[in-house]
């Protein structure tokens, strides 16, 4: 049992994990046959280590540095949280494959920003183009790929995956859990011109009302299966249309207007975040852990001295 609580074993395992991480093997090793026993050994080692080495009373001179760092780390975390609360900037937008997003365009944002509670633009000079999406079996988005332009400098293809945000401008772009289908409609007006409109469906939304582009009519679209493109349209004043099943490419006549259900595209929600408080919080975590480690190092050094 004492061997399991060895600090040498702790140091060895941390070095091994760090080495795997630096050599980029960590992600492929997780969760491999070697990773699982190693991680369980690490937790066992930590549990025994903590239990046998932590002094019951640690308010003495030798561990003062640890005590100060431990609480200093907490203070740093709180300071970072304050910076976040005051200066964090966050917004989101929805995008379909093939679409472009230019951050200075008035196409988004919600949430906090320079203009609190209002529509705001990040305006940091970047764009996402040639968007491609990869799906999971349940329809959620596994991978988002695009070509980026950062401050007028064209970048190569960039990928955003869950837990792997893309650094852009002064912030990061995250793949959010929001996704669904965007129904594209086109109205052909009697004057000869046409207007386009899009209705965004989420997996938990089956029914949604939308305004017919260019007309004061409201229709209700019903999506029975988010993975199927067929919809059911209901509504329209004057009872000219009660219910109609539509597949992409089909049209219906609403008074003098021809409405075409063009296509159903998948959409994904992206979140843009800029958080100047994060480095302070992370620094606080590190200082906190160093403070914690000092209690043990002191105890270990004491044992060696004896």
């Amino acid at each position: 049992m004492r061997q399991l609580g060895s600090l040498k074993l702790t140091a060895g395992l941390i070095t091994a994990f760090l080495l795997l991480f630096l050599l980029q093997w960590f992600w492929s090793a997780f969760p491999g046959w070697l990773y699982i026993p190693a991680v369980i050994l690490f937790y066992g080692n930590l549990a025994v280590c903590l239990f046998i080495r932590l002094p019951t009373m640690y308010y003495n001179t030798g561990t003062k540095a640890g005590y100060v760092l431990f609480h200093g780390g907490l203070a740093l975390v709180i300071a970072g949280a304050l910076v976040t609360a005051l200066f964090k900037w966050e917004g989101g937008f929805e995008i379909c494959p093939g679409q472009s997003f230019i951050d200075s365009a008035p196409s988004y944002l919600w949430g906090k920003g320079p203009q609190l509670g209002q529509i705001a633009y990040s305006n940091q000079g970047f764009a996402l183009e040639k968007v491609l999406l990869e799906h999971n079996p349940d329809g959620s988005i596994r991978k988002f790929a695009c070509v980026t332009t950062d401050n007028s400098v064209a970048q190569h293809e960039k990928v955003i995956e869950s837990n792997h945000p893309l650094p852009l401008g002064k912030g990061h772009v995250y793949l959010s859990n929001r996704h669904g289908r965007a129904l594209k409609f086109k109205s052909f007006l009697p004057e000869g011109n046409s207007l386009e409109g899009t209705v965004h469906f989420s997996p938990d939304e089956t029914v949604k009302s939308f305004k017919v582009p260019g007309l004061p009519y409201t229709l209700t679209a019903e999506f029975s299966d988010i993975l199927q493109n067929n919809i059911r349209i209901t509504g329209f004043p004057g009872h000219m249309l009660r219910k109609k099943h539509m597949t992409p490419g089909e049209t219906i006549i609403l008074g003098m207007v021809l409405l075409k259900y063009e296509e159903a595209l998948p959409w994904v929600g992206l979140t843009m975040v800029r958080d100047p408080g994060k480095p302070f919080v992370y620094a606080g975590f590190i200082v906190f852990c160093i403070g914690l480690a000092l209690f043990y190092i002191y105890k270990f050094a004491n044992r060696i001295q004896k």
Partner: protein, 278 residues
């Protein structure tokens, strides 16, 4: 049933059998002290825990994910951490062995509850597929194991204190000061694990959602529980909280942990729900 799955099932029942035998021997020891049932109980618990660890790793390899997805996996795994915390405490202070009469049945109930719970596996959302899941969840399990063991000791301290004079049970236990020391040590351990759990969760949340803290119900209750652990430690170490006060506060710490780790995640709608209800 697949061939390995069949043997896995047998192994789980063997672990239950060993824990049950250990519980029986620990209870027998309370009444038949000369018969050394406690040694048998100790070896059964140790063998059961070793087998339990093997079962957890085996299942992990078989299904491709750790014991943190279904309520069955969570309870079966948490019971191993309760036994681990108890064995560690006994290894450090052998006189705590009679407490096995309380701890081992508790682990057995957790195992049984887990086996009766739903074991339907579900699709794991992309943001949950991260190595941080293992780090975050295992630290949470270690926190639960440590605080459960600390509170078990606190309860024994309180029960023992309420008895007048000498009792046969009193003679089996170590001095009250020793029980307090070990429970304090376990509280410190759970405080550290709880800190590391919150740090790992914050880093992961930042990678997945772009924020390290969201005042979500689960996050808020974890912070309350962590704060309570810290408060008890400071009351004891800085303001010399009496042993009885420490024992009473440890029971509140366990209640807070149960709320944070079991009631809130399953009872309230939160961003953590997609994990707990997946």
């Amino acid at each position: 049933m697949h061939f390995p799955a069949f043997y896995l099932e047998i192994s789980i029942w063997l672990v239950i059998l060993l824990y049950a035998a250990s519980s029986v021997f620990f209870v027998l020891q309370l009444n038949f002290r000369g018969w050394h049932f406690d040694r048998l109980a100790w070896y059964c618990a140790l063998l059961g825990l070793t087998m339990h660890a093997v079962v957890i790793i085996w299942r992990w390899l078989l299904v491709g994910h750790g014991p943190y997805r279904t309520i069955q996996e969570i309870l079966v795994c948490d019971s191993s951490f309760i036994v681990l915390a108890f064995l560690l405490a006994v290894w450090r202070t052998p006189k705590l062995r009679p407490l096995g009469a309380f701890v081992m049945p508790l682990a057995l109930i957790a195992m049984g509850g887990g086996l009766m719970a739903s074991h339907e596996d579900a699709f794991l959302s992309p943001s949950l597929r991260s190595p941080w899941l293992v780090v975050h969840v295992l630290f949470a399990k270690l926190t639960v194991g440590s605080i459960a063991a600390a509170t078990g000791l606190a309860a024994v301290f309180l029960l023992d204190g309420s008895r007048k004079g000498q009792s046969s049970f009193r003679n089996l236990l170590p001095e009250p000061e020793k029980i307090t020391e070990v429970s304090l040590r376990l509280l410190q351990t759970s405080f550290i694990f709880s800190s590391l759990m919150i740090i790992a969760g914050a880093i992961w949340a930042n990678d997945a959602w772009g924020r390290y803290w969201g005042w979500d119900a689960v996050e808020t209750w974890s912070l309350i529980t962590w704060g309570l652990y810290g408060l008890i430690l400071h009351l004891r170490l800085a303001w010399r909280l009496p042993d009885r006060g420490l024992a009473i506060l440890l029971i509140f710490a366990l209640i807070s942990s149960i709320i944070a780790f079991f009631l809130i995640p399953y009872g309230l709608e939160s961003i953590h729900s997609q994990y707990f209800r997946s």
